[in-house]
Symmetry: C2
Subunit: 339 residues, 2 copies
């Protein structure tokens, strides 16, 4: 990406093993993330550009001398952050704060919207998938690299549980996966705040029980009507704007929790006082999706959840610039890149 | 209170039973709260004044026709909020959000810095104390009406637990009770951020293991030094200012939690982005102290905790204006009013 709206597919130096803990992975599926749209909207022009992409499934081509649990030929899924799996934060399940970790889609390790990726700390980062590389479950397996784990993180941090009322702010891929996660965790009522008919239909099929198409104060009013006047026990903030955050905080019930996974675009959280007086918990952040694979993968393999349905467009590497455009214009929920 | 710095003891209409669920309580001990200092610093002049005080122990003089569990002659402690004990929020332990509840120190029910108080919803609100009205434990029992329960709430919301590192921002009565609560919940390290020698000495005797007298960035740096560079698992925000909140959020470890009980003086919470990237939980609000009496009262009665030591000055009703002055000038930590 060379600036807002300027994505180009170019030949860059080949990814290769640098550290003995690295793996070299040939990408078979990657995708474009809602979070990639923030720089797509706002990035200043750069002469050198920025390497993009942090979600992928691929085949291991080579491993460094110290890699033990991953071998060439393995089909693997990678979380959007790499992590050693052994530091104090990884052991607590917060792999995104790994002391030796970092993020794909950076100059340091390159991007995943590419033919191949260097994966640092391969033993801690990669998860071997027990299927073939063109398995029908591939779209859903790919979501374990980010959006399904991120929706799950929002739900966990919003304390979703059996019988609770849940509201999901945002009808993007993460919000839709948040609906799946809420249903999976036993929510009694799942309210999606969104207005795109195709996304609403998908949300309903994922388990949303109510749809709120209003915005701002009207949306708050509508959610309260749907929740005995109290607001929702659990709110998943899957956008990251100041307005969506304010809406999320305003529809939480006293004593409720907001799990925020939309990357915040503002440096303060609104509504400090009402949130305080209602004892509302604000939690969330980059999802430690690596921690969640063990819990979510079996459900994907058994077909209990189908997060891959958030992909509504398939392209190849040359089609990536068009994919960004389609997602930015909200003509596509999420684009999968097939290699 | 007629305005900033203007507290007067005046004769007002006698408190009396109005609703059949009321009790009339003759106050034996009351106190001045750190939160009373916010209007003491900023309140605009009012011709009619505002009734003050929300912490008290007293003897029941009369009860309404529908009161069942409280009877005349009972010595009782009241939480700073009254609540029915039966609504959905009370049953969840969030008595400060009681559907039929409210707060003492208001025009509706009067203030507790007085000879007597009307207590609405007496069955849900009051707790009978199994001691005499001049028992030596009285100061500690009085703290169950607010500051001890509030410090405990901060600790609970900051997820204090065995072996964890805890930082307490604020050396007022609530912060000091936060130290007691953290110790009681098994914290392994308790860092107090404060700079008043008498308060530091008290904090140490309550269980603080480290004292940070620096402020701002230097305080953040110092706490990191004390916590392996990571920050504290649990941070108790017991002030409510923007700067103290920023400090609290900045000294929390990735994946940690901040329990805020200082009444926020600003309408936004700072550091949305760093807090997000570190997956820090922000929780807290007015403490449902009624919910905590059952847990804390036995420890007070057995002498396991001595929160009453935060009182360092005793006065009578006529001395209340001087008590405000002493607390505002930080010459007193907390003033008890003995009737």
């Amino acid at each position: 990406m060379y600036g807002a709206g300027d994505v180009r597919m170019e030949t860059v130096p080949d990814a290769r093993i640098i550290e003995p803990t690295d793996a070299l992975v040939a990408v078979t599926r990657a995708c474009i993330c809602g979070s990639d749209l923030w720089p797509y909207k706002t990035m200043e022009h750069s002469e050198t550009g920025r390497l993009m992409g942090h979600e992928f499934v691929g085949v291991v081509e080579a491993v460094g001398a110290d890699v033990r649990s991953i071998k060439p030929g393995d089909l693997v899924v990678a979380p959007f952050a790499f992590s050693d799996g052994t530091c104090v934060f990884c052991l607590e399940g917060l792999h995104t704060s790994c002391i030796h970790g970092g993020f794909f889609g950076s100059d340091e390790v390159g991007g995943a919207q590419a033919e191949a990726v260097r994966v640092p700390l391969a033993d801690g980062t990669l998860v071997v998938l027990p299927v073939g590389k063109d398995d029908a479950l591939m779209p859903s397996l790919l979501t374990l690299s980010d959006v399904m784990g991120t929706g799950h993180h929002a739900a966990v941090d919003a304390k979703v549980g059996p019988g609770k009322s849940v509201a999901v702010v945002g009808d993007g891929a993460v919000g839709l996966c948040g609906v799946i996660a809420a249903r999976r965790l036993g929510a009694g009522q799942i309210i999606l705040l969104g207005r795109h008919p195709d996304r609403i239909a998908l949300a309903r099929s994922f388990g949303a029980t109510d749809i709120v198409t209003e915005r701002g104060d009207e949306a708050v009013e509508r959610v309260r009507e749907l929740t005995h006047g109290f607001g929702a026990h659990s709110v998943l903030e899957c956008v990251g704007l100041k307005q969506s955050t304010l809406t999320a905080l305003s529809i939480a019930r006293p004593g409720g929790a907001v799990g925020r996974v939309g990357v915040p675009q503002d440096d303060s959280i609104p509504a400090s006082q009402p949130t305080f007086y209602d004892n509302i918990t604000i939690a969330g952040g980059p999802a430690p999706v690596r921690a969640y694979v063990g819990e979510l993968l079996p459900d994907v393999l058994e077909g209990k959840i189908e997060p891959g349905r958030v992909f509504d467009r398939v392209t190849n590497l040359d089609g990536v610039p068009d994919g960004y455009r389609a997602m930015n214009e909200r003509k596509s929920i999420k684009v999968v890149i097939k290699l």
